[in-house]
C-alpha cells in the first residue's frame, strides 16, 4: 500500500480496532497488510488526532501495551467509510460471475450467493450496482466431465482420465488424485497429483474425453502444493528454450493466446515475438499453423524442423494432384 492510501487505511483501521478491542499487533498488521512497525506508526499518528480543541480529552486514546490494542474516544469515526463505486463493483462483478458458474452449485451455496449480492447492493448504492452489470465475465458451459470430477473431489477418490493434449495431439491415460477446481479466465481446470508426471498438474475439464472414478482413495503426497495460479495458468519455465518468431498482422493472434516474453513492433503490423516452450513438437505445430503468416527466426534447429515437416506434407499433396 502506498502512502497515498494511508488516510483511507486509517479510516478503516480505527473502526476495526473499535469493533475488535484487544486485537493483537501482529494480527491487525496482517489483516491490513502492514509490518508491525508500520502499524505502530499508524497508531501513533491516530493518537495525535481527535476532535477540535485537541485537549487530551478530545484526542483519540489508543494503547498497545503488551501487544493488545485498545482504543477509546474515537466514536466520531467508529464506522468505516462507505464502499466506493470501484470497491463495491469489484466484488459485485465477481459475485455475479460466481452466480453463473455451473461448478459453484456443487461446492457453494447459491442461496447464500443471492443473499450476499442483495446485501452488498444495498450497502453500495445504485452507482455500483449499475457499473457491475456493465462488466461481465462469461463462463464456458459446464463440460461433461464436471459431474465425475466433482464426485471425485467430494469423495476423495482417485480419477482415471482419458486426457487430450492438443499441443502434442495425443490422448493419454492419466491417474490423478484430485485436489481442487481452478477456474481461470472462464475455463475450468482440475488441479491434482498426476501419477504420470509425478507432479501437481492442471487438467482442463473440456479436454477430458473420459473420467472414471476409481475405487481407490485419493492420496496426493503430503508435500504436493497447490499451484500458484495468481500469475496465470500457463507459465513456461525460465529454463525452457527461448524461441523467436516474426509474424505478419494475420499472425498477431499468437500474442493473444500465449504468454510472450517480449513483443517488438516492426511496423506495418508486423511483430517479432519471443516466447518460451518446453515442447519442440508444439512449436513445430505452431509454426506450421502460422504458415505464411509467420516464420521462425531462431533457433535454426526449429526452423529446420518446420521446413522438413512442411516439405514432407507438401510432397503428399503434390503426389495426389500430380
Amino acid at each position: 500500500m502506498s502512502t497515498a492510501d494511508r488516510l483511507p487505511r486509517l479510516l478503516a483501521l480505527v473502526p476495526y480496532l473499535m469493533s475488535h478491542q484487544g486485537a493483537t499487533v501482529p494480527e491487525v498488521a496482517k489483516i491490513f497488510g502492514l509490518s508491525e512497525k508500520q502499524l505502530i506508526d499508524d497508531l501513533q499518528l491516530v493518537w495525535m488526532c481527535g476532535l477540535p480543541g485537541h485537549t487530551p480529552g478530545d484526542l483519540i486514546d489508543v494503547s498497545w501495551d503488551g501487544g493488545e490494542i485498545l482504543i477509546d474516544n474515537a466514536e466520531t469515526i467508529a464506522r468505516p467509510l462507505r464502499l466506493a463505486t470501484d470497491e463495491a463493483s469489484a466484488l459485485l462483478v465477481a459475485l455475479r460471475m460466481l452466480q453463473e458458474f455451473p461448478e459453484f452449485a456443487e461446492v457453494g451455496d447459491r442461496d447464500a450467493l443471492a443473499r450476499v449480492i442483495a446485501k452488498l447492493e444495498r450497502a453500495a448504492g445504485e452507482g455500483a450496482a449499475a457499473v457491475s452489470s456493465q462488466v461481465a465475465v462469461e463462463m464456458d458451459a459446464a463440460p461433461g466431465a464436471l459431474a465425475a470430477v466433482n464426485e471425485g473431489l467430494r469423495t476423495r477418490r482417485r480419477l482415471s482420465l482419458t486426457y487430450y493434449v492438443p499441443g502434442r495431439d495425443e490422448v493419454t491415460p492419466r491417474d490423478v488424485d484430485p485436489m481442487r477446481l481452478v477456474v481461470a479466465d472462464g475455463r475450468s481446470y482440475l488441479e491434482g497429483w498426476c501419477y504420470r508426471a509425478e507432479a501437481v498438474r492442471l487438467f482442463r475439464l473440456d479436454r477430458m474425453l473420459d473420467v472414471r472414478i476409481l475405487d481407490v482413495a485419493a492420496e496426493p503426497p503430503e508435500d504436493a502444493e497447490p499451484l500458484d495460479v495468481a500469475q496465470g495458468v500457463f507459465r513456461p519455465s525460465p529454463t525452457d528454450e527461448l524461441v523467436e518468431l516474426e509474424v505478419t498482422p494475420a499472425g498477431r493472434w499468437v500474442t493473444e493466446y500465449y504468454p510472450c516474453e517480449e513483443v517488438v513492433e516492426l511496423g506495418d503490423g508486423r511483430m517479432r515475438v519471443s516466447l518460451r516452450a518446453r515442447d519442440q513438437g508444439w512449436l513445430v505445430r505452431l509454426a506450421l499453423r502460422l504458415g505464411d503468416t509467420g516464420r521462425v527466426v531462431s533457433p535454426p534447429s526449429l526452423a529446420g524442423a518446420v521446413r522438413e515437416q512442411a516439405s514432407e506434407a507438401l510432397a503428399r499433396y503434390e503426389e495426389c494432384t500430380g
Binding site: R6, L7, P8, L11, V14, P15, S19, L45, M48, G50, L51, T76, I77, R79, P80, L81, A84, D86, E87, A90, L91, L95, L98, F104, D109, A112, V116, K119, L120, A123, Q134, V135, A136, V137, E138, Y164, R180, V182, V183, A184, D185, G186, P226, A230, G232, P249, R252, E256, G269, R270, R285, A287, R289, L290, D292, Q309, A310, A313, Y317, C320
Partner: protein
C-alpha cells in the same frame, strides 16, 4: 502524502463529522491543527486541495450556501459517510471471501481488497478459506483495461487507436462504452462507435497505445436492455454454414482429430479416411497444417488449398 498532511486530513474528517451545523472555512482553519500557521491565500489553496483529496477517496463533503451568510459552510453528513450496517452469515462470508480473490491485477484486486477491509472494519466477519476446493481467477492483463473500466464507470466517451484483425492497419476510434466483457480469457469493450454510427465490439488486446477519455463524464447512455454478451458472442457466430470435410490420416496418429470425427474408416495403405464437419475453412486449415505430414485434406478444395498455402508459407 506526508505524515503531517495525513494528520491534518484525519482531523478535518473528524471535525466535519462532529459538527451539526456547517462550518465556514475560517472556523475550520481555527479548529483543525495544521491550517493555522500559513497566510490567508496559502490556507485557501491548501483547504481546496484537501477537500478534493477527501472527495477522491469517497468522503462526501456537503457545501451549504445560505442566502444570509457570505461564506459557504462545510460538513460531512454521517449518514452519507458511514457504511450502512451489514451483517453476513457464515455461508455468506465464505462466498464473499471467494469473490474477493477473483481479480488478479492491481486495479480491481486493490478495490476488492479495500472493500473487504471496510467490511471487516464495520464488524463483518469475512472468510477467505472456507471454499478451499475451488479457486476462481480472472485476469485483466490488457493495459487498456483500467482506463476502460473507469470510462464505463463514469459514463464517459473514449478515444483509442485500434488495429484491425486482418490487415493490421491502425485507426483511431471514438467510442461511447457500454460495458466490458470477458469471453474465453479475452476482454472486449462494447459500445456505440461514433464514427460508424452503430454498435461495435473491440478486442482490448488490439488497442494500440493509451485510451483517452474525451468529453464530460455522465454523457454515455447505455441503451436499456442491451445484451453485452450477446453482442460479443455474435462475432464468433457470424455463422458460416457447416460443411463436411474428407481427410486422410496416417494410422495411429492425430488422436484429437479422430475424437471429433463423424466417421473413421480404416484404409488399406496405412492411411485412414476421416470425415469431419467444419464451418470456417481457414480455421480447419490452420489445425490440419499444424499436424504436418500425418494428415491430408482430400476435400473440399478451399480448405485443401488453404492448407497447401500454409505449408508453402512455412517452407519459404
Amino acid at each position: 502524502m506526508s505524515r503531517r498532511k495525513t494528520e491534518r486530513l484525519l482531523n478535518l474528517v473528524i471535525c466535519l463529522l462532529s459538527t451539526r451545523r456547517p462550518l465556514s472555512a475560517e472556523q475550520i482553519r481555527h479548529a483543525v491543527p495544521g491550517y493555522d500557521r500559513d497566510g490567508d491565500e496559502a490556507f485557501q489553496r491548501m483547504f481546496e486541495r484537501d477537500k478534493n483529496e477527501l472527495r477522491e477517496i469517497g468522503v462526501p463533503i456537503e457545501v451549504h450556501k445560505d442566502p444570509w451568510e457570505d461564506e459557504p459552510g462545510y460538513r460531512i453528513v454521517r449518514q452519507s459517510y458511514e457504511l450502512p450496517e451489514i451483517t453476513l452469515e457464515a455461508d455468506e462470508a465464505a462466498v464473499l471471501g471467494l469473490a474477493a480473490q477473483v481479480w488478479q491485477r492491481a486495479s480491481l484486486a486493490e478495490a476488492a481488497g479495500g472493500a473487504l477491509l471496510k467490511l471487516r472494519a464495520g464488524g463483518v466477519e469475512t472468510d477467505e478459506s472456507a471454499i478451499g476446493a475451488l479457486e476462481l481467477r480472472v485476469d485483466t492483463r490488457d493495459p487498456s483495461f483500467p482506463a476502460l473500466w473507469e470510462a464505463v464507470r463514469d459514463r464517459r466517451a473514449v478515444r483509442f487507436d485500434y488495429r484491425t484483425a486482418g490487415s493490421g492497419t491502425v485507426r483511431t476510434r471514438t467510442l461511447e462504452p457500454w460495458g466490458v466483457v470477458s469471453r474465453r480469457g479475452r476482454w472486449y469493450v462494447v459500445g456505440h462507435d461514433r464514427d460508424r454510427g452503430e454498435s461495435r465490439v473491440f478486442r482490448l488486446s488490439r488497442i494500440a497505445g493509451p485510451v483517452s477519455p474525451i468529453g464530460r463524464p455522465g454523457v454515455v447512455e447505455v441503451p436499456e436492455a442491451v445484451d453485452l454478451r450477446a453482442l460479443v458472442g455474435y462475432r464468433d457466430d457470424l455463422a458460416l454454414p457447416e460443411r463436411p470435410a474428407l481427410l486422410r490420416v496416417r494410422a495411429g496418429t492425430c488422436e484429437g482429430l479422430r475424437q471429433l470425427a463423424q466417421a473413421v474408416r480404416p484404409g488399406a495403405d496405412g492411411w485412414d479416411e476421416v470425415e469431419l464437419v467444419f464451418a470456417d475453412p481457414e480455421r480447419l486449415a490452420g489445425w490440419i497444417a499444424s499436424l504436418g505430414a500425418d494428415v491430408e485434406v482430400v476435400e473440399p478444395s478451399d480448405a485443401r488449398d488453404s492448407v497447401i498455402r500454409r505449408l508453402k508459407g512455412a517452407l519459404a
